[in-house]
């Protein structure tokens, strides 16, 4: 048995650390005395050595060693050609047992991908003649093409994958994301799947993802729901995450959170999509839950962007922007495709006043997820923050045109219009349109109410808010209603509304302010009483029964003083 055979056996047995040391020694021997090993043997040694290094995650080193192996292979093929012409059957057998050149190239590409050298990776894979490409290579190539924006090549590669493996669902998703028609994709899989029993859901599945990538959220939701209803696919985590994601995109936060929650209950190790879940919960103010979720995900893996994003969301919504920025950057570093990470970093940058950098991040997020409205919203906010109303307007119009006139796009456009005193009227009609489509869309209601309060049409605003509150209860809406009621001097109702708002969100600063303001207006008797009122409201509202003793003491003092007066 040859020493090379030992190395091969060890490599096959997975003893990479041993292989690494041994092959390194043997390679040095070979370098010092080229006669010791044949070129084929040296090629083998190099590949095994590179494999071991790859396994140790030294990717740049591994890529270098693989390239050396390839070089060696070239030499080998030249010499073997000479040999085959002389007719050596034994060498043929030996050549067959050599590690495949294509596999080595794939490994190199993998190294490059991990090192984020996408162009080099594409170049290596492109070098493989298309007939020799395995599905694995095609898949990787397609993903790389798509990332690099070479859509046509990507589509061809994906189709190639599908041709060889008709049930490659990720390839299907890839195709759909490149706006290939659902019917076309379905036709490619149809032949293979028709004969298989219990796969009738596949066409529906393709349809659902086609809707998702076409931005038709409503129909996507309906399709996925119909899939879910089938008892065979009930409680599938991936479907649930997709469904939750579509709900989120459609602006239905409640359902989105419910579905995410269900998914992560079914699979506690779920990572995919959890960043959106964390973001949603943070936005809804469940910061404690976000913290718990983040910690849990860190335990599962810190090599994914999601836990970092969740942690970042927590920091962002607890107003620690620089921390959020750092965490977002870390998440992007781990996964440069993470839309949520880009949005987080962008938002953090914006709130820290670095608007130009923020714009770059939002643009990138937009490119990655053209169907997600919050990318556009973030960008528009950036423009508005830097007084770029014109750009904001352009962007809003753009969304409105590309994504169609639904309640969300209309509201975005109206938000921009509201900033410009010239286009107030337009904003109003837009908001009316949005509300006609979705009467309960909170954002539109809030904006409309703001507009009405600016125009001092309080009665109308009250009617609007009451109408909206008939179907949902929302802290902001109650608070706004309170503000309106104060404006029409209905203090009692206003008080009610503020207290409802506070009961929904005890930390809502604006409601507290509104209430205090009202009490001040109410009792203009003298300064001391107002002071009392402030103290009292500040400490009394949170429903904290414990309170602090010092405050109570302070009160007692005031009381006494008051008595003396």
């Amino acid at each position: 048995m040859n020493v090379i055979d030992y190395v091969r056996d060890m490599a096959a047995a997975g003893l990479y650390s041993n292989v690494r040391i041994l092959s390194s020694l043997l390679l040095t021997m070979s370098n010092n005395n080229p006669e010791l090993f044949s070129p084929a043997q040296k090629y083998q040694l190099l590949v095994y050595h590179a494999d071991a290094i790859f396994h140790d995650k030294e990717y740049r080193n591994a890529a270098c060693k693989y390239s050396m192996a390839l070089q060696q292979k070239k030499v080998l093929s030249k010499t073997s050609k000479v040999r085959t012409s002389t007719g050596g059957a034994a060498s043929n057998i030996q050549a067959q047992s050599l590690p495949s050149e294509i596999e080595v190239k794939y490994k190199i590409a993998e190294c490059y991908t991990i090192l984020k050298l996408d162009k080099d990776a594409i170049a290596v894979l492109d070098g493989i003649p298309s007939r020799q490409r395995t599905p694995k290579i095609n898949m990787m190539l397609a993903n790389l093409y798509r990332k690099a924006g070479q859509e046509r090549s990507a589509v061809t590669s994906y189709k190639e994958v599908l041709r060889q493996c008709p049930l490659a669902l990720d390839a299907i998703i890839g195709l759909l994301s490149l706006s290939v028609k659902g019917a076309e994709v379905a036709s490619m899989t149809m032949d293979a799947t028709q004969s298989i029993p219990n796969l009738d859901w596949l066409s529906v599945w393709i349809k659902a993802y086609a809707f998702i990538h076409a931005g038709d959220n409503q129909r996507a939701i309906n399709t996925i729901c119909s899939l879910e209803k089938k008892s065979l696919l009930r409680d599938n985590v991936d479907l649930l995450v997709s469904l939750a994601d579509v709900y989120f995109r459609a602006g239905d936060t409640k359902n989105a959170i419910l579905k995410f929650e269900q998914a992560q209950m079914l699979d506690p190790y779920l990572i995919k999509g959890m960043d959106v879940y964390g973001y949603l919960m943070a936005r809804e103010g469940h910061l404690e839950d976000v913290e718990v979720l983040g910690g849990r995900l860190f335990n599962i893996s810190d090599q994914h962007a999601e836990p970092w994003v969740i942690s970042g969301c927590h920091s962002f919504y607890s107003k620690r922007y620089s921390r959020a920025l750092y965490l977002g950057a870390k998440a992007i570093q781990l996964n440069s495709n993470s839309v949520q990470a880009l949005l987080l970093k962008g938002a953090a940058l914006r709130n820290m006043g670095r608007v130009q950098e923020a714009i770059i991040h939002f643009r990138e997020a937009m490119r990655l997820a053209p169907c997600r409205l919050d990318c556009y919203e973030g960008l528009i906010d950036c423009y508005l923050a830097s007084n770029g109303i014109r750009e904001a307007m352009g962007m809003a119009n753009n969304i409105y045109k590309t994504l169609g006139a639904n309640a969300q796009t209309l509201t975005i456009l109206a938000t921009v219009c509201l900033e410009d005193p010239v286009t107030q009227e337009k904003a109003k009609t837009l908001l009316d349109k949005a509300l006609a489509q979705r009467p309960d869309y909170t954002k539109a209601v809030v904006k409309k109410a703001e507009l009405l309060s600016r125009e001092q049409k309080y009665e109308e605003g009250i009617a609007l808010l009451r109408n909206a509150l008939a179907n949902q209860s929302d802290c902001v809406l109650h608070r706004m209603l309170g503000d309106f009621l104060v404006a029409v001097n209905d203090y009692q109702e206003a008080m009610d509304q503020y207290s409802i708002a506070l009961s929904l969100d005890p930390n809502d600063q604006k409601s507290l302010e509104g209430m205090q303001k009202m009490e001040k207006e109410e009792s203009p008797t003298d300064a001391t009483v107002e002071l009392d009122g402030d103290d009292m409201e500040g400490s009394g509202e949170d429903g904290d029964l414990e309170g602090s003793d010092s405050e109570a003491a302070q009160w007692a003092d005031q009381e006494q003083w008051f008595g003396m007066q």
């Binding site: 879910e228 409680d235 109410e522 009483v529 009394g540 309170g547 405050e551």
Partner: protein
């Protein structure tokens, strides 16, 4: 269903499992039920098993388990969603519960009609739950609407009515509790009018997509899996049932088991309507026993019904009953084996067979069925429901209602057995008695059932009127209505408690105390309303009775807020305010939704001068129940103390709008409006009737009082003025106003420089105060008067100096 199409050997056990679980549940063996259900769910992982397991969790008092279990799975059937929503509400995840019930796609909510269509038979309960959610999230109008709809669907439900009253709505009991609404809904009297019931049930279960074949298959399997002894039993019943229902046999299959399946189907079909009819009134369990015999009011048709009823009862306990009995018991045993029904109780049936001859007509005919649990949930047996409802539709005509006649009883019986296990034997006897009565000619059946329902409705109307009056604070009227109830209802804890509450609101504390002590005598286990009793005792300064009550209640149930409120009041009376505060806080801890505890805590904080905390407490009370006028009053008092008169007035007026009869509130508003800076003309014009009432109050004063009033205008912050006014009021017998003035006096002079104030307050309900004034008392009073006058003079002088 896919599961049944390819049944493996393992799954043969499912129905047996199922039956075992239900049996364990029915016998309160929750541990066993949970264990078995967990096994079953591990075995089949079907949605039915999921539902069963969740039900076991829920019934064993672990809603969070059910919640987490159901949440992790997509729930498609209405019953599962209802259970999940119920758990959500119990865990106060209201938004989620709402989402589960009505959440559609993209914020589009389902309308109530959609819910009614979707939930079918259980829609009334669903709507009630939904209404609860709406009310908790401050969408009163919608909530009220839900309750209304729930009541129209099922007039036997009391809690929606109660909630409506709490919301300040004024539902008309005559409109709500009437039989005509009963006809149109799914709880129509069962046998002859099959169609309405079936329509609804059919609607309910379209989601399940069951076919009769499934059920037949199931039954066949059940039979195969049954052991030898039972099989032999079954064979007997087969002959019987196949004799009775040749049509079913030919329709559904050709084997003997098929015939039995047919009987099963028919059997499963009927009981639903029967159960809901008879199960409904269970919400009023204390009222039930007499329904069979005593008409509450001379209502038309009742006497005839009774005569018919009793006569048939006596005549028919002979031959037909025997046959019926045997049939019941046999098919019952089939049933227990097959286990597709939750209410399987083979044991009592064995007894019933043996003891059948002893039974003879006794008045308690309907009692077992009446004592079923309130708020019956949709049950697992839906699978059979579906197939039953679909097939029975076809079969009903052919069968000529042979089975249905006896079926409702069986169903109701089983249900009741669940609650009153000890009376199994009696119940099974009752079955025998019921049976003949129901195998009357068909025309008489609806009459009988309508009459029974009519009696219940009449009672509910009366109670409803009383409760409504109480909730609108027409306490006199409420007391009148409630006291005119027939004695067997009058002498129950519920009624007496509410009468007591009425007296309490009228500030007739001695009367209230009498009522409550009667409640204690009759139902010593009653905790509802005891917080009011404790406050009554507090007002009456009966510390011994109060501490006895507190001890008893806290010993009995440490998890009810009422007990801790009583304890708090007890210590408050003994001026141990810190301990009282602790107990009130514990009451809140035990049940954060108990508004009265917050109010009491608030008052306690006021007493310990922690006004900011008191404010928070009152606010919390309002948050929990914004029609809790005591809390509004408390807030007003605090603002008044802080001289924020506008705010005080707002709060008093709010309280008054809730309780317009309260003289205390009226006077407070009057006093406050004197102080308001803008309290001039506009305010007065706006509230003319109010002001009028206030001045009318004033007119009752004697001349001295008017002088005092003038004095009050001059020196508004002098406690003694109020004290004197209080004295005068007391002389006039207006204890309440007196009290109010005393407390104002106290507020203005909290350090108690004038000890006589406290004494006077403490004495206010002592017997000598209430009875004819003794000379000592008078002299004491006069001495205080002079004393006070001296002080008054003194202060007046000091004022002048200043």
């Amino acid at each position: 269903m896919a599961v049944h199409n390819n049944i493996t050997d393992d799954r043969l056990n499912e129905p047996v499992f199922d039956a075992a679980v239900w049996q364990a549940l029915n016998h309160y063996a929750y541990l066993d039920a949970v264990f078995l259900a967990e096994r079953l769910y591990a075995e089949v992982r079907s949605e039915e098993a999921l539902y069963l397991l969740a039900t076991c969790y829920y019934r064993s008092g672990k809603p969070y388990k059910a919640y987490r279990l159901l949440k992790a799975h997509s729930c498609s059937t209405p019953q599962v969603r209802f259970l999940l929503a119920k758990c959500c509400v119990e865990l106060s995840k209201l938004a989620e519960g709402e989402q589960v019930l009505i959440g559609g796609v993209l914020n589009k909510q389902k309308s109530q009609d959609d819910i009614i269509t979707e939930f079918g038979d259980s829609a009334s309960f669903t709507l009630s739950l939904l209404g609860h959610i709406y009310c908790k999230t401050d969408r009163i109008a919608k909530g009220a609407d839900c309750f209304q709809r729930s009541l129209t669907l099922n007039p036997f439900l009391w809690s929606p009515f109660q909630n409506l009253c709490h919301l300040g709505e004024k539902p008309d009991p005559d409109q709500v509790f009437r039989l005509s609404s009963l006809q149109n809904c799914s709880i129509a009297p069962p046998p002859p009018s099959v169609s309405p019931a079936q329509n609804s049930s059919h609607r309910l279960d379209t989601a399940l997509m069951e076919t009769p074949q499934d059920t037949l298959e199931l039954n066949r399997l059940n039979l195969e899996s049954s052991n030898g002894k039972l099989a032999s039993d079954l064979s007997v019943s087969y002959i019987d049932s196949s004799l009775i229902s040749p049509d079913t046999g030919s329709l559904l299959g050709n084997t003997v088991s098929m015939a039995s399946a047919g009987s099963l189907l028919a059997k499963q079909n009927k009981p639903k309507s029967g159960r809901s009819l008879l199960g409904g009134p269970a919400a009023l369990s204390p009222l039930t026993p007499s329904f069979g015999i005593l008409p509450l009011e001379p209502s038309p048709g009742d006497p005839t019904y009774l005569q018919n009823y009793s006569s048939t009862m006596e005549t028919q306990t002979t031959a037909p009953s025997k046959k019926a009995v045997s049939r019941i018991s046999q098919s019952k045993s089939v049933f227990s084996q097959s286990g597709n029904s939750r209410d399987v109780l083979p044991i009592p049936f064995n007894q019933s067979q043996t003891s059948a001859p002893h039974s003879s007509g006794s008045p308690q005919v309907l009692s077992p069925s009446m004592s079923g649990p309130p708020n019956v949930q949709p049950r697992r047996s839906s699978r059979l429901f579906t197939s039953a409802s679909s097939t029975a539709k076809e079969n009903s005509k052919k069968l000529k209602m042979k089975f249905p006649t006896k079926i409702p009883n069986r169903k109701t019986k089983c249900k009741s057995a669940k609650t009153s296990n000890s009376t199994n034997l009696n119940e099974s006897l009752d079955i025998l008695r019921l049976d003949p009565s129901l195998s009357l000619p068909e025309t008489k059946i609806p009459q009988y059932q309508r009459a029974a329902a009519g009696i219940i409705m009449a009672l509910l109307r009366e109670l409803g009127r009383g409760y409504l009056a109480l909730c609108s604070y027409n306490c006199r009227e409420a007391i009148n209505i409630l006291t005119s109830l027939p004695p067997q209802h009058y002498n129950t804890g519920w009624v007496l408690t509410h009468i007591g509450k009425g007296y309490f609101e009228l500030a007739e504390y001695t009367q209230a105390e009498r009522m409550f002590s009667e409640v204690r005598r009759i139902e010593s286990y009653r905790v509802e309303g005891m917080e009011i009793y404790s406050t009554t005792l507090w007002h009456l300064q009966k510390d011994v009775a109060l501490s006895a009550l507190s001890k008893d209640l806290t010993d009995m149930d440490k998890n009810c807020p009422e007990a801790w409120c009583v304890a708090g009041n007890c210590f408050s009376l003994q001026r141990e305010h810190d301990i009282a505060i602790k107990f009130f806080q514990r009451a809140i801890q035990v049940d954060p939704g108990f508004a009265y505890a917050y109010t009491l805590l608030g008052h306690e904080f006021v007493l310990t001068e922690e006004l900011d905390r008191a404010l928070a407490c009152f606010r919390n009370a309002i948050r929990v129940n914004n029609r809790h006028y005591n809390a509004w009053y408390g807030l007003g008092m605090i603002y008044y103390k802080q001289e924020k008169f506008n705010l005080a007035e707002i709060h008093f007026k709010k309280a008054l709008s809730i309780n317009p009869q309260s003289s205390v509130l009226l006077c407070h508003i009057g006093v406050v409006s004197f102080h308001t800076p803008t309290g001039g003309a506009p305010e007065h014009v706006q509230n003319e009737p109010l002001q009028f009432q206030f001045f009318r109050c004033l007119q009752d004063f004697c001349a001295a009082l008017q002088e005092l009033e003038e004095l009050k205008q001059i020196v508004p912050k002098e406690s003694l003025v109020y004290f004197l006014i209080g004295k005068v009021y007391k002389k006039l017998g207006q204890t309440h106003l007196a009290l109010m003035n005393f407390s104002w006096a106290m507020d203005l002079d909290p350090k108690g420089a004038n000890n006589q104030i406290k004494e006077a307050i403490d004495k206010r309900y002592l017997p000598e105060d209430e009875g004819t004034h003794s000379e000592v008392d008078d002299s004491q009073d006069s001495s205080i008067m002079t004393d006070a006058d001296d002080t008054q003079l003194h202060t007046a002088e000091s004022d002048d100096v200043l």
